[in-house]
Amino acid sequence: MVINSRFFNRSELMGFIALAAVLFVILPLTLDVFRLNLVAKYLTYAFVALGLVLCWGYGGILSLGQGVFFGLGGYCMAMFLKLEASSVENTKIQSTPGIPDFMDWNQITALPLFWQPFHSLTFTILAIILVPGLFALIIGTAMFKRRVGGTYFAIITQAVAAILTILIVGQQGYTGGINGMTDLRTLKGWDIRPDHAKIILYFVEVVLLFACIGIAQFIRLTKLGRILVAMREQEDRVRFSGYSVANFKIFAFCMAAVFAAIGGAMFALNVGFMSPSFVGIVPSIEMVIYTAVGGRMSIFGAIWGAILVNFAKTSLSESFPQLWLFGLGALFIAVVLAFPNGLSGLWADYVQPRIDRLFASRKAKAGWTDNSVADGAPAE
């Protein structure tokens, strides 16, 4: 695999610097801890959006079930945190002390077997990556090897999201049911609730996000990324050229699942909460909307989409508690009708050309020659 000599082209580099400046410097300096913690919550969806850029934007695989993977990652993390919060000391009021409170309410008297390994943080971290990854592998293999794609695949991912929600709600003795897992307190004895912990968790999350951006960008620039795009445009040609289309699709889908799961785990840590309301059909579609608003073809666009849409959600609901959902709906319709490529499309169409012209004129004055400014030229 040959990697482009430049990891980011100039506009991407600017996007990278802008995002890093906002997330690492501007927001922590200007927001109080409460708002910063909200941004941390928004950013958990940025992980999902990032995965969707790879899988939907580049691979052309629309998944309407990313909530499943977000939820699996989140629940793995929440199970570990819940076990730690359910020490015998904390739960002595229950009929069976030492098990999570919701199990006690449901007359379960011993910790179920599948909960046992979540006493270990190492296992939990592995599970956050592997459980959703393997689940995506199974779904992906079952679907793509049979050449199920497009709308049918989207519908099936919806069904999976619905099934998982029903499973979680129905098995409340083992999962906390509709209430979810609440009252998560400590991570290896470190209290995750006070302000300073929230700040640390925020920075951990931002670093993780940039790591994932790096991975996504790396994938995009390798031959793999170009095969994904080729597949999206002309699947049959890629197949006739001798590539195993199914395997590439499975790979993209698994990557998106793992990114979503990391987001879910960070959600459980930052919000101190996990519930089936992040798993089902509606949140899964919302996640696609974030990506669409930001721009599904653009890594940074999708992340901005996740941040801005959620920010709008919070501020609209604070200002207009009765009407905010209508406003938000109108916003989505407007964006999708008027700017099908989302915010990043707007940027590329209107803002970027001006910046380029500015640079081009400066460079012309300086007597430089530059023929591959706007796009990473194909390198091989």
């Binding site: 109080d32 801890v33 409460f34 909200l38 919550k41 009021i93 009929s95 919701f102 309410w105 449901n106 007359q107 029903i166 709600v169 129905g170 409340q172 049911g177 509709i178 209430n179 979810g180 609440t182 009252d183 307190r185 609730r193 919000v271 101190g272 909460f273 519930s275 309301s277 992040f278 919070t314 609901s317 604070e318 508690p321 009765q322 905010w324 959902l325």
Partner: protein
């Protein structure tokens, strides 16, 4: 009312300031209290599936706040409220509770409805030391320094009703139907223990349906086969509409087949239709039709503020108690500080409660009477039975866990 207050202050500047103690004395923890105002939060779902149920609570809380302000406020300060929307989404409830406590520094929150939303908010109010007044009847198994439960916990609501129906109808066999989440499951667990151990009866069936479920035909068939003396239901929300309609369509006549529900209030009957549920018994602490002076004044004030067509259910009345109990507690404690309010709460009594009289127990629940009503065609309940004394709240009932 604001206009009336202005001349009073200009005429009697010293006297009116003397009535209100200095802010620094009544607010030592930096809450949103000024010399003239105190801010509280209202946190319910104004949007989403729960909005239909929670709207009544929002209205009742606003009515109580307006009445308290008209009567001079709390410690000489008018109550100002900030309303936030929980959007029927539990984590949103937690987020907004945190916003109210951390950003707005509200002195108290009137809010939450479902158990799930309370469970989500509870860690937040405990962490930031807020005060939550929670209106819904609920499953118990909880007690917090930072929460006052103005609805009934499960044993208060259920036991008296079961005793009554066992005695009155000679009921021995019961069939339980509930929505599938923590409140119905816990309530039915308590009901089952009571039926089996105390009433020496039998539970012939126990079935749960997912929230929002609308297909009850199979359970209705089972009811027709097992012929229980009593159908005991805690189905919630919109599912009720389907359940009672299908029950009627299947030819189950509630005049002959006793049915005791702990989840249908006047609000739900609005959706179900009086003709579909007439004859059913409901067991809770309040009905709109209660015949006492407090309630008559409350019902007419409520209708004046929110329209003639509104109905008032059990939870709406309990929500109305929240601001009043908080005001009375603040005045007893002589302070807005949450720690002092939490400590002063036990023993606070509210004689103006529409349900009659309530008092806060050591465990932060309310002493209250339990009542049984029979649904009428017009959507109201006719009071059939009420306990002679106030029932003690017992959130951790021995022998029922």
């Amino acid at each position: 009312m604001g206009m009336a207050a202005v001349p009073a202050i200009t005429m009697l500047p010293r006297a009116s300031f003397a009535q209100a103690p200095a802010t620094s004395a009544v607010n030592t923890t930096g809450l949103a209290v000024t010399d003239t105002e105190v801010t509280v939060g209202i946190l319910h779902s104004a949007t989403g599936t729960m909005a239909i149920s929670e709207t009544g609570s929002i209205q009742a809380e606003k009515l109580a706040i307006e009445q308290i302000n008209a009567a001079g406020g709390v410690l000489g300060r008018k109550i100002k409220f900030i309303q936030e929307d929980g959007a029927s989404d539990w984590p949103t409830f937690a987020e907004k509770a945190k916003k109210l406590l951390v950003n707005d520094k509200v002195a108290a929150i009137m809010g939450c409805w479902t158990s799930a939303s309370r469970k989500a908010v509870l860690p937040v109010v405990e962490q930031y030391n807020g005060m939550l007044y929670y209106p819904t009847f609920y499953e118990g198994l909880e007690q917090s320094k930072n929460v006052i439960y103005t609805g009934q916990e499960a044993t208060q609501q259920i036991l008296a009703g079961l005793n009554w129906i066992a005695k009155e109808k000679g009921a021995k066999s019961f069939f339980f139907i509930g929505s599938d989440y923590i409140w119905p499951r816990t309530s039915n667990k308590i009901a089952r223990k009571h039926v089996e151990n105390v009433l020496k009866g039998k539970v012939v069936g126990e079935e749960y349906y997912a929230l929002g479920s609308t297909q009850f035909n199979s359970v209705i068939n089972k009811i027709k086969l097992t012929k229980p003396d009593v159908i005991f239901t805690d189905v919630v929300g919109g599912s009720n509409v389907a359940f009672y309609k299908q029950l009627k369509a299947a030819g189950v006549d509630l005049a002959k087949q006793p049915l005791l529900t702990i989840s249908v209030t006047e609000d739900e009957i609005d959706g179900i239709g009086g003709e579909n549920i007439a004859g059913a018994y409901a067991c809770m602490k309040y009905f709109q039709s209660l015949d006492n002076a407090n309630n008559k004044a409350f019902v007419s004030a409520f209708k004046k503020m929110w329209g003639e067509k509104t109905v008032i259910g059990d939870v709406t009345q309990a929500a109305y108690l929240g601001p009043w109990l908080w005001k009375l507690t603040v005045e007893k404690a002589g302070s807005f500080d949450v720690d002092k309010i939490a400590a002063a709460s036990p023993g606070v009594e509210f004689k103006g409660a529409p349900e009659g009289y309530v008092r806060i127990h050591e465990n932060h629940h309310l002493w209250s009477k339990t009542r049984v009503g029979r649904a009428k065609l017009d959507g109201q309940f006719e009071l059939i039975y009420e306990t002679a004394d106030l029932v003690e709240p017992d959130p951790f009932p021995k022998g029922y866990q």
